[in-house]
Symmetry: C2
Subunit: 157 residues, 2 copies
Amino acid sequence: MMKADPTGIHSPSKERLRLWLRILKTSRGIEAQLRGRFRDEFNSTLPRFDVLAALSRHHDGLKMSQLSGVLRVSNGNVTGIVDRLVDEGLVIRIAVEGDRRASLVRLTQKGKTEFAAQAAAHEGWINQLLETLDENAAVAMGAQLDQLLSSMEATND
Amino acid sequence: MMKADPTGIHSPSKERLRLWLRILKTSRGIEAQLRGRFRDEFNSTLPRFDVLAALSRHHDGLKMSQLSGVLRVSNGNVTGIVDRLVDEGLVIRIAVEGDRRASLVRLTQKGKTEFAAQAAAHEGWINQLLETLDENAAVAMGAQLDQLLSSMEATND
């Protein structure tokens, strides 16, 4: 029936366009909320949280280039972020045989504790922001987005 | 049954967290695709498209401050974007009674034609990127995100 809509306002491509604008608005809205909460509650930022999260998954540490890949921002930014995390005692740099570029970054015990607190708060904020979606709805939408992401990756190959 | 999961890997908050990471990945992935296509096919950028789109909805023109609001970037960036669009003949600045800050920006005929081409291409790219979702699925997901956005706005009030 929608396909017979003579106005063209409802068509698969118009609905997908509308959906995309909503995905974008949702994503930006949630990011803005998280940015405000990290600032207010942890005097921190999303990129700093992303760096701590990446390090929490790699107990042996990560190279600066790997952290840069995680953030998909310039190496310069990662350097600034890591410098400040070092100053605050949350991470340490471990030299690798005199090759400064190869130095590894690792969480300190203080960093692990701080990240655990931030991760728990982050999960709680998301749980609250997405509370209109019950568990089944979240799983179902996640599966649809997974399919979409797989098809996008296949196209890029 | 999921609530009885003793590992805690499946819980409403874990599933919402997973969903959020997928929304973010989808949004960033699609934005990256669009960025590449605007560059390759129109030698243009997403913020430029956003400016043209805003102007296409306001035939009488917009003030720089209004365009800045659309983009949510610094006024400086909008100025640079508009300067280049003026150079290319896609928009014009219309002075308002000697108040330079109040000048309006409007699409030229060339700008209208160019935006129509870009908007059609943009809709086609989105239609292709989201093709794993049929029309009904797109409408359903859009409605869920609308509900989520409404609840977020209500929380902010």
